[in-house]
Structures are given as C-alpha cells and as structure tokens.
C-alpha cells in the first residue's frame, strides 16, 4: 500500500469541484446540455470525445490545482487503466490531484 506523503487530501468539496468542471467541460465541448451528462456517459460513444479534449481537460486541472505531473505519466497510467466513462475520468482525475507524479506507484 502506497503511503501518501505531502499529497492533496480529496474532500467531498474537491470531488464536487472536479465533477462540475468535467461535466461543464464536456457539455461545452460536445455541445450538449449538461443535464444529459452523467457519470455513466461514455465519452467516445455518447459524446464523440477525443484525446485533444482529454489533453485540454488535464491542462485545466494542472493549472487549477497547480499539479506537478508530466502528461506522459498520466498517459502511462491511462494505458493500464483505460477510461471510458465520465465517472471513470473523474476518479482518475482525483487520483492525479491526490498523487500527482507518484500515480504510477499505485500499481
């Protein structure tokens, strides 16, 4: 089990913030009403999402939470833990906020 030195604490408030950003981002990008998005929404099949959107979203979170993590680290994690739904994306984003560059050590 990985210890968590100096890592961000994920509170309900953080989870709510992340969820709101993700929902609003995809609603705007994919031109759908935010009420049509849920944690079960499939990013590619339902929203026609793509990797550029994923990249843009990560940049938003890197700036907002001042994250010290390289994109390729997230890419390596995502290869082992593929994300299909909005809910999975939110969970992964919370792990990135919590563990930053140490996220690969979770495996």
């Amino acid at each position: 089990m990985l210890k968590k030195p100096c890592m961000a604490e994920i509170t309900e408030k953080t989870r709510g913030e992340v969820q709101k950003i993700v929902y609003e981002f995809f609603a705007d990008e994919c031109e759908v009403d935010v009420s049509e998005i849920s944690d079960q929404t499939n990013i590619i099949k339902d929203l026609d999402g793509d990797s550029l959107m994923f990249l843009e979203l990560i940049e938003i979170f890197k700036k907002k939470y001042n994250l010290q993590i390289e994109l390729k680290t997230i890419g390596k994690y995502a290869v082992k833990h593929p994300v299909e739904t909005i809910g999975q994306l939110i969970d992964m984003q919370l792990l990135i906020i919590e563990y930053e560059d140490r996220i690969l050590e979770l495996d």
Binding site: D50, S51, F54, L71, K72, I74, G75
Partner: protein, 300 residues
C-alpha cells in the same frame, strides 16, 4: 506591421464533414456546386458525385484535396460577398492553393492544376514503397525526437500544439515508432488515413519536378499578405510564392508557431474556410485574445 484583425485559414483536406454547417448559409450550396462543376470539367469528372457521407469518395486522397480546395474558395467568396474580408491569408499545408486563389496570385483553374501536378509527382516518387503520416498527442517534442532516433527515415512534419505532433515516413517505421510512443505515455498515437509522407524529405525529388510546373504557370503577387506555415514569414512576391509552393511539399511546417505569430500580429478573428473544425480544436491550446470561427458562426 498589420493593424487589422481577420485571417482566413484554409485547411488541407477534410474527411469528416460531421461538423459542417456551411450548407446552412444562403448561397453557399449554389456557389459550391458551380465551382464543383467547373472543377469537374477541368480535372476529374467524378467530382460531381461528391457527397459528405460517401466514404469511398472521401478515402480518395486527391479528391479530398480538390473538395477542400473548392470548399475553401467557396467559403472565402461568400464571406467577402457579405462584407467579411481578411487582412491576412494562411494555408494549412496543402491549403496553400486555396489561399493563393483568394489572394489573387493564381486562378481557380491553376489552383486545381497545381493540386493535380503536385499529387502526380508525389505519387511517382512514392510508388515504390508504403508511406504515410501519423499523429501523436500527449508527448513533448523532445520525447518524440528520442523515439525517432531509431527511425532515421521518420520525421516530425508538423507541430499542431505543444503536445500534438504529426510524423511522416515509411509506414512500417511509423507503426514501430507509434508503438514506442504509446509505451512512452502518448494519449493518442495512430496512423492517419493518408499514404503520402507530406512535408518530409522523402518528397524532395517530387518537389523539384513539381517546380517545373510551378514556374510554367501565371503567378501574380498577392493582393493580400499570406503567412508561411513553414517559417512564419510574410509571403507576397511572385518569387516568394513559387518558392513556398515548392518547399511546401517537402519541408516541415509548424502550425502551432503560425497561430502564435498570427495572434501576435493582432489577428483577433481566425476564420476556418473549410467544412470541419479540426484547426479550431487545435487552437484551444494557445492563449490570447482571439476567436476561431466557422462560416456559419461568422455570419450568425
């Protein structure tokens, strides 16, 4: 220094028409059909069979270039009829031909013939092997260059944003490089649906043959400045244009740097003269006070 603020950008070739809203704009369809028939009579009779959902048609590399060219010219003309004029032109890759037509440097007919001749020369040069292009998203340039060290025939042919690159080269080597890119943490590493390694040294001999045609046709100075995607300099004279046309086939370009330069020049309104939004999507990674718009968005 330019003080005005609108640039028309012409995409290269488009296979996805799902974002297209041009047909909603009054007058577009009639003008597009008129130009399509004109082009059909000159270069390819089958062009009139174009339909945005005809995948066989869209998989034909030369035809998709013709269609993007006709789209670009039609959109630009409609915009100017409605009083929207650019202060700058920019051709993304093979979008240069439509840009030159709109800038008055070459005729619509010669634009089509340039596309045909370039494609013919490239086809002769690449007929002995299997080539292509690939996209990588999520790695830095330095990471990609390390990967390419083992593949000397593959090169970065374009940078779309800080973490989005296009590669050109032999197909087998590209596929191997993509595997390494995925291992290195790329979010996206896939072959593009083209069989030609545009903007790579592999096309240098084709470009030299193409130059014979470029220097045989009427090319006039541009009425509007055009920014080069190769070096971000302003193109204006006949000689600049001819050089750009030839080098555009085999030299790398940098779309990221070109967008940054246009914004620095005060281009606050970037209009994508094509049926898709692919260039607009890439623009999101550039900060600045500007809007990236489609035909319909401009005329709303």
């Amino acid at each position: 220094m330019l003080t005005s603020y609108t640039v028309f950008v012409f995409p290269a070739f488009v296979r996805d028409y799902s974002d297209d809203t041009s047909f909603l704009v009054e007058g577009f369809t009639a003008l597009f059909r008129e130009k399509l028939i004109q082009a059909s009579n000159l270069v390819d009779r089958d062009l009139t069979f174009f339909h945005p959902e005809n995948q066989t048609f869209l998989d034909h590399e030369l035809r998709t270039q013709y269609i993007a060219f006709i789209y670009g010219c039609s959109i630009s003309e409609i915009l100017q009829e409605r009083g929207v004029s650019p202060e700058l032109l920019c051709g993304y890759s093979m979008g240069i031909y439509a840009g030159l037509v709109q800038g008055g440097a070459v005729s619509f007919e010669n634009g089509l013939l340039l596309i045909r001749h370039a494609f013919q020369e490239i086809s002769y040069t690449t007929m002995t092997g299997r080539f292509g292009m690939a996209g990588i998203i999520g790695l830095k340039e330095s990471d990609i260059l390390k990967i390419l060290y083992g593949f000397p025939m593959v090169e970065i042919s374009n940078q779309n944003s800080a973490y989005s690159f296009v590669l050109s080269g032999p197909q087998k080597e590209l596929e191997e490089a993509l595997t390494l890119a995925r291992d290195e943490g790329a979010f996206h590493a896939r072959m593009l649906n083209v069989t030609i390694p545009y903007h790579s040294h592999l096309l240098k001999s084709a470009a030299l043959q193409f130059a014979k045609f470029v220097y045989s046709i009427d090319v006039h100075s541009l009425k509007l400045p055009m920014i080069s995607v190769l070096n971000q300099e302003i193109i204006h004279s006949q000689e600049d244009i001819k050089t750009e046309l030839v080098e555009n086939l085999y030299k790398h370009f940098n779309w990221y740097a070109t967008q940054q330069k246009m914004i620095e020049m005060g281009m606050h309104r970037i209009i994508e003269c094509g049926p898709g939004k692919s260039l607009k999507k890439n623009s999101k990674f550039i900060d600045g006070n500007y809007q990236f718009l489609s035909l319909e968005e401009v005329l709303k």
